[in-house]
């Protein structure tokens, strides 16, 4: 299906981004940019407690305040029984989703929504929100897996039992699920090893940090239908989840995608949308809700904190023989942490005969976690890749050579079960090993670390409609919100198939009434799956164009070929017909030229990345500066290399922040103490060096152009790569994130490197 060294005209070029002009001129319309006549402003009444029973909610005073047009509580939503179902690529319990949108009977984290109000101004809505009287019975809370898994822990959900428990029990538990994978005999495996290293790691919740907050405008008509404008990673998902929470048929909702200012997984669920629709239905007017930054941090889903133990054994030659992992992930207030992905990815890059992996999904009194770029995998890789680095040092083997010796390749059975098809992991290792960076000299207080990472790609459902206009240009409509440059990739693939210039292709993302169902922009899937739909539709179009040319010439279609955007007779008897000429005549040859493809994308590949970084550690302050960073990633085929590089760099930068500074800090009452970009320190441009990129192209045989998803795996290695670099620079092995200056100073003090009089640990 895919050739090794194809000759493409447009695929692989760096075309101008179709959305660039609108964004740099401010014309692009994001979620909060929608204004409608008579529009009300909504605000959410939120819990001040981390865990409490709701005794009563009295909205009577608020409802009669000036300007207030609607007030809702969970009593306005249908009660949904617990029902787990696939929603996109995730399993969602719609009861949990509903209770997260509006608390019912209990609040489970600080800022959990309790009511919502729509009024003629924000000031009026906020005044009314302050007048809502909620009586609580405050309960003890748990914030970490250690607290939640303790024998006498307060229970969040009295009806929750542990699924998959070794010893099934009818006692309620904060452990929602136990996952286990294993093969071989780890005890015998470790006994055969010359070196065995076991370490424990902890991480804290971190937020995706998208710049654009959650925002929605809903306008509900008297006929019971609602139009919803919002920024999301999947407006079909918004439609289906909102409909489910409201108890509506999905056809009553038309969801219109706004331009999106970042998501990284965090916008693959709903928060405000049902509230806006319901407030609009009750008031009879359009309603807008926009989260402020505090709400984004405290009431939308971060990535989880976790505790892990990883043990790996090897022979003196460097063969990995056995490995075990134990991990507990915070799910937040409702079950559904990414521990299922973590248990599958933790040893996935390596061919290890004996493995035993156990994971726990644990509810705590913090916001329900959401997806964040390769969910679960960075945390798991932080542990594995750190231990591997120690093993390499103990064995006296170069860390890349150790990985190469044990790297998986085509035909190897993965540690999570399936046998790998064609993959490019070894190629990423070789790319870093052979890069000048790997042999460059280091300066004082500097160290170098390497790490690798694995992540799945998703296929799922996509649709595309392609139309040819009379001037020979093409429209490409899809239902995939563009969070990483996918419009440019769609235009390039369409241009390649149709044989026209990419600037003659106009890609658009259209609403749920205007295109076939399309799953979320997530799982690194859009260029792969929606791109496949675009290619399929374009191939239909080319067949139509050849048919129309054959009609115009009075010959059989087999006599016509399509070459560089023109129909030409194989015999050369007639001058070629341009795409514009055929389109202009289409009314005489059978009608408008358009095609739609809707498919479930099969043939999906997997992704690997290997990275090397150099850090410089200030021994007095503990400040870690990343001074050089190179990342190699298997893209299968880079449709638009600049966007592939952007994804690779973006993943690394977010990983640097996760490694060095980012963390939710809670007070003893369970309230986040740093819910702003001032106190929640994400990297800015001046914090990071240029991230060098090496695009490895081992084509995925399951895609017409060999595409693999590139959006996520780049964030998997940085946590360990930086930890390993710090260890190389200082001798301090840090296994508790973030590796912030106070942590580094403390670790250096423990080694006797400094006096340890730095600032207190955060």
């Amino acid at each position: 299906m895919t050739t090794e060294a194809p000759s493409y005209k447009w695929v692989g070029t760096r075309s101008v981004r179709p959305d660039g002009f609108d964004k740099v001129t401010g014309r692009a319309r994001f979620g909060a940019d929608r204004h409608l006549p008579g529009m009300l402003i909504g605000v959410v009444v939120r819990s001040p407690h981390a865990h409490a029973l709701i005794r009563s909610v009295d909205t009577s005073a608020a409802a009669v305040m000036p300007g207030v047009k609607a007030v809702i509580t969970s009593a306005d939503l249908p009660e949904i029984s617990s029902e787990e179902a696939m929603s996109g690529e995730s399993v969602v319990d719609y009861r949990d989703l509903s209770h997260n949108v509006l608390a019912r009977g209990k609040v489970l984290y600080v800022d959990h929504p309790v009511a919502a109000i729509a009024a003629t101004s924000r000031r009026a809505a906020e005044a009314a929100a302050a007048a809502v009287v909620v009586e609580y019975d405050v309960l003890p809370h748990v914030l970490t897996v250690d607290e939640a898994m303790a024998p006498d822990a307060p229970i969040l959900h009295p009806d929750q039992r542990t699924v998959g428990a070794v010893e099934p029990s009818d006692e309620p538990s904060n452990i929602a699920k136990r996952r286990w994978f294993g093969r071989g005999d780890t005890e015998a495996g470790f006994a055969a090893c010359d070196v065995v290293i076991e370490r424990e790691f902890t991480t804290r919740p971190v937020h995706q940090g998208y710049i654009e907050p959650h925002a929605v405008v809903a306008s509900t008509d008297t006929d019971g239908r609602s139009e919803v404008w919002c920024s999301s990673q999947g407006h079909f998902l918004v439609r289906s989840q909102t409909a489910k929470v409201l108890g509506w048929d999905p056809s009553r909702l038309r969801v219109i995608p706004a331009e999106i200012g970042g998501g990284f997984g965090g916008k693959t669920t709903i928060y405000l949308e049902p509230l806006a629709v319901l407030l609009s239905a009750k008031s009879g007017r359009p309603v807008k809700l926009v989260m402020d930054r505090n709400e984004v941090f405290m009431a939308s889903g971060p990535a989880p904190g976790a505790r892990l133990r990883v043990k790996i054994g090897a022979t003196s030659d460097g063969d990995l023989v056995a490995a075990t992992a134990w991990m507990a992930f915070e799910a937040g207030a409702f079950k559904g942490s990414p521990v299922g992905a973590a248990v599958q990815t933790v040893f996935a890059p390596y061919d290890i005969p004996h493995v035993d992996i156990e994971g726990f999904d644990v509810v705590v009194n913090t916001p329900k976690v959401a997806a964040y770029r390769a969910p679960g995998a960075p945390i798991a890789a932080f542990a594995t890749e750190s231990v591997l680095d120690e093993l390499a040092h103990a064995l006296g083997i170069d860390p890349i050579d150790l990985r190469l010796r044990n790297a998986v390749e085509e035909g190897v059975e993965s540690t999570y079960g399936p046998t790998f098809r064609r993959i490019g992991f070894k190629e990423t290792l070789e790319a870093i090993r052979d890069h000048p960076h790997y042999a460059a000299p280091l300066g004082p207080n500097q160290g170098r670390g390497v790490a690798s990472g694995f992540w799945f790609n998703a296929g799922l459902d996509s649709s595309a409609t392609v139309s040819i206009h009379e001037d020979g240009t093409a429209s490409v409509l899809t239902g995939s919100p563009d969070i990483g440059g996918s419009r440019a990739s769609m235009a390039l693939m369409a241009a390649e198939e149709l044989g026209i210039d990419p600037t003659d292709v106009r890609p658009s993302i259209v609403d749920t009434d205007s295109i076939g169902f399309t799953d979320v922009t997530g799982g690194s899937r859009v260029t792969f799956a929606t791109g496949m739909a675009v290619v399929e539709a374009c191939r239909d179009i080319v067949t139509t164009l050849r048919t129309r040319a054959a009609t115009m010439w009075g010959v059989d279609i087999d006599a016509v070929e399509w070459v560089e955007g023109r129909a030409q007779m194989r015999s050369g008897d007639r001058p070629p017909l341009s795409i514009a000429e055929i389109a202009t005549a289409s009314g005489k040859t059978g009608g408008p030229i358009a095609a739609t493809a809707s498919l479930t994308a099969r043939g999906v590949g997997v992704a690997f990345s290997t990275q090397v970084c150099d850090v410089e550690v200030d021994p007095e302050t503990g400040i870690v500066s990343v001074v050089r960073y190179t990342t190699a990633q298997d893209a299968g085929r880079a449709i638009h290399p600049s966007y592939v590089e952007g994804q690779m760099q973006g993943g690394v930068v977010q990983g640097i922040g996760w490694a060095l500074n980012e963390a939710y800090v809670y007070d003893t009452e369970g309230r986040m103490e740093n819910p702003s970009f001032l106190d929640y320190r994400m990297p800015v441009a001046s914090d990071v060096p240029m991230i060098d990129t090496v695009i490895v192209e081992v084509p995925n045989p399951g895609h017409p152009y060999g595409v693999r998803g590139v959006g996520e795996v780049g964030i998997v290695p940085p946590l360990a790569a930086i930890a390993n670099a710090i260890a190389d620079a200082t001798g301090a092995r840090i296994r508790d994130l973030p590796m912030s200056p106070p942590r580094v100073v403390a670790e250096l003090a423990a080694l006797g490197s400094v006096d340890g009089q730095g600032p207190p640990l955060g």
Binding site: M86, G417, F456, G459, G523, E712
Partner: protein, 81 residues
Amino acid sequence: MARVHLWGELRDLAGGRQVLDVEARTVAHLLDRLDDLHPGLGSAVRDELAVAIDGEVMTNAEYEPLTATSEVHFLPPIAGG
């Protein structure tokens, strides 16, 4: 017959067996057959179905065809970002 590989807790529902050989035309048919052979096993998979067929992980795979040489793994579903 399709060869079915069971991860972790699913093995408990199959009497500890790690591999089963089952005659089935599709994944849905396979789940029915698993329930016949080991009551509860097919249902447990249906609740959270991600399946890998010959190395490719899929969701919404109930009607995927199986062949006599298909290698099937049932996996926890994964949410991407």
